[in-house]
Amino acid sequence: MIPGKPSTFRYSVLPVLTVVAVLVVVWYASAIKMNSTWTYDQAARAGTEPSFSEVVKDTMQQDRPLLPVPHQVIAELWDTTVEKKITSKRSMIYQGSITLKTTLWGFALGVVVGIAMAALIVLSRVGRLSLMPWAIISQTIPIVALAPIIVVLSNAIGAGSLLVPKAIIAAYLSFFPVMVSMVKGLTSPDHMQLDLLRTYGAKRSAVFWKLRVPASMPYFFASLKVSIAAAFVGAVVGELSTSAISGLGARMLIGSQFGEPMIMWAALFAAAILAAVLIFTVGAIEKILRRAMGGQPV
């Protein structure tokens, strides 16, 4: 360890682990409390008087507990990712890949639309006056209300699969952070920077490509992490609200409708892990691009 340099363990790993440990304790305690009702019911019906340790043991191995304990969720996750064949409909990897595909399509569409709208807003007065208010209004409409309309409309234009409406829903949520950041980024060069290019007699196109676009990149990178997270939420919401039968969102819905809490929780955790992987990947790409653009290492 370099003297004076804060230790990574003490300053970033330890606090996170502490919070995780507290959550796990609270989780076990709540599970014992909530699931014991069922245990006592069963015992009363059988006319037995279970000891406390028997109750605790039982609350952790019920098939359909109110609240599954962490190791049950992990076991279910293990079972549905490693043990199951990837082609199986019960595999979380299979379900996750469907959500991932929707997320990536939605993200790509959202980024393209976001950049295009930002460019129009920055380059033309008409774009600025007409697009911005609508973009803001678009985010105030609950996506769940729009989802069925998007499904019907994309079927009407012959989309064929559910992927199209789901990706549109994901894009609907993910374009906004990109657009807002890009508008900010493209207008970030100050007067001096713009005057400098005027002294070169630079054309508008040169100002855009040589100054505005590169200056907007840090803003763009920062928006990608928010945007991929939004696309992922959009993909899951899309699955929940388009009566899809596959994808992590659909698994959660099925788990809750058929009283399979294990499936629900495992799908939820799979979703959280996938989201974390996506954000981490985008973050890593961002770091590489920043370095390539001469960024100062922090």
């Binding site: 001096m192 920077q193 005057d195 400098l196 290019l197 005027r198 002294t199 070169y200 007699g201 630079a202 040169a206 040589k210 100054l211 590169p214 200056a215 990149m217 653009m293 001469g294 960024g295 100062q296």
Partner: protein, 258 residues
Amino acid sequence: MTSPVIDVSGVDLTFQTNDGPIHALKDVNLEIDKGDFVSFIGPSGCGKTTLLRCIAGLETPSGGDLTVNGLSPEEARKARSYGYVFQAAGLYPWRTIGGNVKLPLEIMGFSKAEQAERVRKVLELVDLTGFEKKYPWQLSGGMQQRASIARALAFDADILLMDEPFGALDEIVRDHLNEQVLKLWARTEKTIAFVTHSIPEAVYLSTKIVVMSPRPGRITDIIDSPLPKDRPLNIRDSAEFIQIAHRVRDGLRAGHDE
């Protein structure tokens, strides 16, 4: 007698603001000849930067005549007649020093080979050879400002306009850069217009010192410096130097008392 490179006659400039009109420049008359080193000095608000911006065609005077190389400032700007150095270096953080110096050359459509050659030449001129591949954050403030001077010199305009280029630097760095600017001026024989609020800087550098005062922005004195062209730093201790500095200070005070 050749005509002046920069000819300012009867220039007025009024800005319309919400608090009423502001008289930024009033009846400014000035001739700058080829090879002159002219400093504009005065308190803030005296219009020295505004005057430089008018010469650069970045502001348009509301009255009077202003020609640069016999052209209107707007035409001169489009003809790329001058290099402009701003208060801050304003280097692009995403470009290397070489890339930054190359920027005007790319915009002006120089060939790749010509770009590389010119970058090499001007970086040598400002003593930054070997820093071509470094990024701006790897350089000190003084070095960044030298890179921005190199950028202004890259396309070899005859006129160099400098707006308080060393205002943000400490005195030791400033002295060093002043010496370098003089060397540069001697080597390139450019016409330089230089805005400053430092009396020693103005006297040390200039062949002509333009003293200005505010409300309305106007010229109160124009001093032709008798100092020789070759100036070591210790010329600042000579009687002549101190005498000119006195006259500049008097001019500034007179403008202030009115």
